[in-house]
Every structure is written in C-alpha cells, then in structure tokens.
C-alpha cells in the first residue's frame, strides 16, 4: 500500500517534469496548475488528511511564480496536486481498510 | 517569586545526602534560535553548598551541564533541622541563594 502510493506519486512527478521540460510554461499554465493544486488541497483538508510536504511544495510553487520562474512553478504546483491526491487516496482507502488493523 | 533552587537534604546515620535541582536554561552557546541565530552561552558557573559555616561542596560548571541542572553528593555530619545554604552564580552575574533545612 505504502509502496503503491509512492510509486503513484513518483509516476506523476516524473511525467510532470517531462512535460515541463518540453515546452516553456507561462503564467497562465501556472495559474491552471495552481488552481488544480488548490482544489486537491481543499479536498484533502475536508478529509482531514493533509501531508506536511504538500504545504511545503505549495510554498515553493508560489515562490517560483513570484520570481517569474514558471517552469519551476508549474512543476511545484503539479507536485502539490500529486501529493494532495496521494493524501486523498490514502484517506479514502483507509476509510475502508482501517478495521483490518484492529486488534481482535 | 519562587526560588530557582530545590534542595532535598536528608541526614542519615553518618552522612547527609544532598540532591538539588536548579532552574536555569544552561544555554550551551551552540544552539540556534528560531531565527537561526546562535543563542549565546548562558550557564551557571559556580554552585556552593554550606553547612555550619563551612563549604561542603563546590560545583564548577561549563555549558555542557544539562538544563535545570541536577546534583547529588554527600557529606559527613549534618543533622535534622540544620541549615544548608545553597548559592549559585552564572556567567552573566545572575545568582540565587536558598537556605533549606536538613530533613
């Protein structure tokens, strides 16, 4: 399960960096990526399961955007989305799986 | 203001066992604060214990002694009800003193 989650995140991340390497990103690309990231964070928050790394990546995205480095900003925003989605998937999966861990 | 010094001195048959705890940050000088700046060394340098007008123990401490430092030692003599005076001074000149009764 843990391994699977990590693989999932890693796959998304490598896809993201590949995409951004191909074409230079614009402010609009960043806005779009940021909006998606924000939506994922909101959902994770509602599930009361955010990861600390998500917030850190969001900060990095904003900083890069402020510096006009949109390639980097988009990559960070996509990372945020991937991390937030990871925590969402975890929360949903655990809703079903937790009883398996109970001492009986 | 409560004293920075806690002492427990218990008279036995032959010797008095003393334990003390002193409230002090004992900053080593190697730790950084939240802003990333080094907290300057701030530590107790000398602790003295006196019984019957005589110094029975002296501790000389560098910055490697733990926060709220603890000490345990024993001396001959001392009986229940005697005074035991404890004093400390730190590297910034702050100090405190307390006279406790031996139990």
């Amino acid at each position: 399960m843990r391994i699977r989650a990590l693989i999932r995140v890693a796959a998304v991340l490598s896809a993201a960096s590949f995409a951004t390497a191909a074409i230079a990103a614009s402010a609009d690309d960043y806005k779009a990526a940021y909006a998606k990231a924000e939506a994922a964070i909101t959902q994770a928050h509602a599930l009361r399961n955010e990861w600390t790394t998500t917030a850190a990546a969001l900060k990095a995205a904003k900083a890069a955007a402020d510096a006009g480095k949109f390639d980097e900003a988009v990559a960070h925003a996509q990372q945020v989305e991937a991390l937030a989605n990871g925590s969402i998937a975890q929360a949903k999966e655990q809703e079903k799986l937790w009883p398996e861990a109970v001492i009986r | 203001m409560a004293s920075t010094i806690r002492v427990r001195a218990v008279a036995g048959a032959d010797t008095t066992e003393v334990q003390s705890l002193i409230q002090h940050p004992m900053d080593s000088g190697f730790v950084k604060d939240a802003k990333g700046e080094l907290i300057p060394p701030h530590h107790i340098e000398v602790v003295q214990f006196e019984h019957g007008g005589k110094t029975v123990f002296t501790a000389l401490w560098g910055p490697a002694v733990s926060k709220d430092p603890y000490l345990k030692f024993g001396f001959k003599g001392g009986k229940k009800g005697d005074d035991l005076k404890v004093s400390w001074v730190d590297n910034k000149g702050a100090s405190d003193t307390l006279t406790a009764k031996i139990q």
Partner: protein, 280 residues
C-alpha cells in the same frame, strides 16, 4: 503484508459492504483483545508497568529514567501547576469549584463523556470550560500553562487506576468508535497509523526513539520530554505524532483527538495514572 492489504482491498471492493455495521461497537470485547495482545506479546512486562512506556521495554533506558526520577526535571513545572491551580479567578472562584473532589486525584476520570453536549471532554477541555465559565480566557492547549496544570492534576492522581466510562449512549459509542478509527487509520506521507508504531512496534526503535506500547500510553500524560526541554500537554504529544509522520496536525483538542484519547484511556482502564511522565 503488502499482499495481504491488496487482498483485503480486493475483497472490500468485491463485496462492497461496510465491514462493520453500526450496531457492533463492543468496547468491552476490544478491551479484552487489546489487553491480551500486549500481555501476550510482552509477557515479562508487569501489567502496571506498561504505563511507563519505553521504560517498560528497555533496561538501559529504564536506568536513566530512574536516575532522573530521583529529582525529576519536571519538578518546576509541577510547582508551577500547583500555583496556577490554586490561584483564584477574578471572580474569586478556583479550579477546585469546577471539578469533583475539588480537582484533586481525579485525572483518571478523564476523558469523560458529557451527556449534555454529547461530546467527549478531556481534562484539558474541562480546564478551559472551567475558565470560561468563570469569565477567564481559555488557555492555549499546546502551551506550558496547560501542560503544568494538567501535570499537577495528574500528579495528585498518581497510582489511581483509569476509570473511563462509556455509557450506553449511541453518541458515546460513536465517539469511542471514532477514536478507534483514528487510532488505526494510516495517515501522513509516511502512511502510518498510531497503531503502526504503538501496537505493531512497541519496544522497537524508530530513528532513535524506543516506541511506547499503546497500552497505558495515556497514563503518563502530560510528559516532560528531554527533546522539548519541558513539559508538554496531551495536545502537544498528539500533534507531534502527526507531524512526525508528515501529516498536518488537526487543531488541538479536535474531535478526533478527544475521541482517540477516550478510546486509548478506556483501553487502559485499571492501569494506574503515572503522569506527569518523563520521556526522552
């Protein structure tokens, strides 16, 4: 392990049935299984010693702890708590007016299910309710004053066995269940639950710490940690657990935290309060 989880996931998906119906909350059965698990896994640890956390698991650590207990570093926090506890509010009343037995020797009764609000009230929450009822501002759950106050109240209760009641009220049972769920749910980027550490790995090292067993883990709270260089409240401990596994902590005394404290304290019924504890 991985295969097992996958298998379970497949089963769950296939049957698409909730594993637990609403009716089958059985705290007593859980209690028995929980106790059996720990006593069988650690046959050499006397039952009442589980409350000493990592010190019940490791002789080297235990010796250092005992040396520190000769004159515990939390002595100052304890005195501070005593002072705070006795200090009258502006209206002349004190904490003693809010609690059974004037607040002395009662820590083992918390968390308590409050029939009026239908919620679990921890000792820390009860302290703030007392303050607010007397026109005082609430204390920060994560800060020193709350830690000192609860340390003193725990100290006056040392040796008294946990006596947590789960009344036959659907709201109390639901809170218990939520606490249990929180305890066993994996979270944070490290994907671990409270149970991953404190059920599956007590006595083992995580990085440099020896993990405490879940049985009796609440009995020592609040705790003085050498790592903190001071006394920390139950809220501080729980939120730290979250951030250590790279999860964003919930607000202090959030429902989940109160419920998990309820669950764990119930599991420790009969075991003595040992708080305030000292931990690495």
């Amino acid at each position: 392990m991985l295969r097992k989880v996958l298998l379970v996931a497949a089963l769950v998906a296939a049957t698409a049935q909730p594993l637990l119906a609403a009716g089958d909350v059985d705290p007593q059965a859980d209690f028995k299984a929980f106790r059996k698990y720990f006593t069988e896994r650690f046959p050499k640890v006397p039952l009442n010693d589980f409350v000493n956390g990592p010190y019940s698991m490791d002789e080297g650590l235990r010796k250092q702890w005992q040396a520190k207990e000769e004159f515990p570093p939390y002595d100052f926090a304890l005195d501070k708590g005593k002072e705070l506890f006795a200090k009258p509010f502006k209206n002349g009343k004190t904490y003693a007016d809010c609690f059974p037995d004037k607040g002395i020797g009662i820590r083992q009764l918390y968390p308590m299910f409050d029939e009026k609000s239908g919620e679990v009230i921890t000792l820390d929450v009860a302290i703030n309710k007392c303050r607010e009822a007397n026109g005082e501002a609430a204390l920060d759950y994560l800060k020193d004053d709350m830690a000192s106050l609860t340390a003193y109240m725990a100290f006056t209760s040392r040796g008294k066995p946990f006596d947590i009641k789960i009344p036959n009220d659907p709201r109390a049972l639901a809170a218990y269940k939520k606490g249990e769920e929180y305890f066993y749910t994996r979270r944070g980027q490290f994907n671990v639950s409270c149970a991953s550490c404190h059920v599956q790995n007590p006595g083992n090292h995580i990085r440099t710490e020896v993990l405490a067993p879940a049985l009796g883990i609440m009995n020592a709270l609040p705790i003085y940690r050498s790592e903190w260089g001071g006394m920390g409240s139950t809220s501080r401990r729980l939120t730290t657990c979250n951030s250590q596994v790279r999860g964003v902590p919930l607000p202090a005394e959030a429902e989940e935290y109160r419920d998990v404290e309820y669950f764990l304290s119930y599991m420790a019924n009969g075991l003595p309060i040992s708080g305030p504890g000292a931990r690495p």
